[in-house]
Subunit: 251 residues, 3 copies
């Protein structure tokens, strides 16, 4: 392990929750190097958290530990996981959060193997469970210290493309800060023009391929086809929100 | 000291203020390890800053220095403090900001002991005073370098519980990002059902003890009784804001 | 170089973009120490990004590398720069973003000198170009590895003061989180009272020089004259936005 621990949560940045997690991480592993990915996942929005994590985690060096906590089921019987993928470890609830970034082997955390002195508050596993385990893993503890069994992690359903006559139908799966619409079409699966909310966006390479104010489709940096308006917000100008239908007119 | 310096401010994240503080910290102590707790304390809201700091600071390893700057009185004659608590040091204005996290011995910073070359801008003590002192303390400087006298730090009044016939009255002291209502009742002081804004919330252990959409009270991760709505925002659904009355019907 | 790399972007904190940049930085230079300045520059607002960078960058120790990405022209033919100033390096698009912080010698990044294995996504130079170059520079690579030519960087026009009879006219160039109005008047260029939106703000040293609720002008911590309302938001109370006219009545 390289000592890097990243954090992805829906805790926001106004409360002391993120700070508490960081304190636990540094208390358990003083040499850890903490890296905030995002704490502004919309509250309890597992898909948005999974998408943000997938956008970022793959770029970190091998040996990184990623904590992800978007956890509507905290305190219930939902499982907690350690997932291994491409030399990185992910510690997260088993609700699909790690599926896009790390569709790999998952170990179920076995609560009977945890140190008995760990008091785990039923509403804050991020601080009392995930942070402690991540710190230990980053310090070199083996996964077997916390788990004995490999399980199938919960998957997230990406909306499948549907054929409708001559067109292929997908949807907007994410809207970024700039109002760019990330569609469910992976790069290479469509060509030609996309239509969202009645607006046609021709497929090009980048924003600058169209005039300011014009819609454009392109292969986005996350691997999906996106629809943007050059120098503007497609979300605002097209009144498009997550789930909006996107049609591809293949020739 | 362990080299860790945490930052808690109401500076927000849009201006260059936080970055300027970080620059000063690293210039004064290049080996410092900076950890953001929060910069999104509502502007000049000392209680909210004190609460966030108290939620997080206690989890850091001994030898940590915490800077806290929510400072409506900057440039006035309000004192500046170094507070010691549980092996950690806090550097902050004397306005109650450190009271919940560090109700310990406080040293008044003596401006006549500061290096004469320190130019201190009257509207930005965070950068020019607190960051420099915190960096020096984290690098091992003794408190006596900046102060000669112990003082009584300003306290924050937590609203006391009031007995009203058969009920105990408290109030909402904080609302978190999820809309959970943190009440002024410390854990263990109430039992049974809490009532906020006409809604009864039975005391349980965690969200999952009630059905989705139902109110629930529980001992929160910060040590106070909280009222939440499972899978929803209690603040929105109960139209409750900070200061709202909470009643406990003890049996 | 000292290993510190700061980040200033308009990427916001909700997407995975910032995390992806951090991953690349740590993959290319595992010992780098990452410092967030701000990611909340308003989307594509180059001036706001330049101002935030200028508020903070000068405080970092020599040998720091600053990445700044507010890049409406990404994917177009706009140049990318490495700028050297006061012992620090800045990596940024050539759109004025570095002008306030680092009006120094600029090297144009020569895309023909980049490693051929670098795939550079046309909409995300922050991740694929700027982060990689910054990491290399922080690790000690010479500027000449990426550039052969010094160029004149694009400048930002600060609004010049205009004389109008007995008064000097400037404008509000930035509004901070507290609603303080940063004017285009550098410290020392005006005296007496400033007028914004029909309200007179006498020039003093700090907020505490006037009564709560009263307007006050003072030399701000960024080197410009500011107008504030003590214990309130001047932006709200004076209904002033960026670009609002400010008049100085010199005697």
């Amino acid at each position: 392990m390289n000592g890097i621990i990243t954090l992805t949560t829906d805790f926001g940045t106004q409360d002391g929750y993120v700070g508490a997690m960081k304190g636990v991480l540094l208390r358990e592993h003083p040499a850890a190097r903490l890296v905030d990915l995002t704490h502004d996942v919309p509250p309890q929005d597992v898909f948005a958290g999974a998408f943000a994590l997938a956008q970022a985690a793959c770029f970190f060096p091998p040996g990184t530990v990623h904590i992800a906590v978007v956890d509507p089921g905290v305190g219930s019987s939902r499982r907690a996981l350690i997932v291994e993928h491409d030399g990185a470890l992910f510690v997260a609830p088993d609700n699909g959060l790690t599926w896009l970034a790390a569709p790999g082997a998952a170990w179920a955390i076995d609560s009977t193997r945890l140190p008995p002195e760990w008091l785990i508050h039923p509403t804050f596993h991020g601080r009392d469970l995930f942070a402690r385990i991540a710190a230990r893993l980053a310090a070199g503890a083996p996964i077997a210290e916390f788990s004995t069994g490999i399980v199938v992690q919960r998957q997230l359903a990406l909306p499948p493309a549907a054929r409708e006559g001559a067109t292929l139908r997908g949807e907007v799966i994410h809207i970024d800060r700039f109002g760019n619409l990330v569609t469910s079409f992976p790069g290479g699966t469509v060509s030609g023009t996309l239509t969202v909310a009645g607006v046609d966006a021709p497929l090009h390479t980048t924003y600058a391929d169209v005039a300011p104010g014009q819609p454009v489709a392109y292969l986005g940096s996350s691997g999906f086809i996106e629809v943007a308006v050059r120098d503007g917000s497609a979300a605002t100008l097209l009144s498009a929100s997550r789930g909006a239908v996107v049609r591809s007119h293949k020739e």
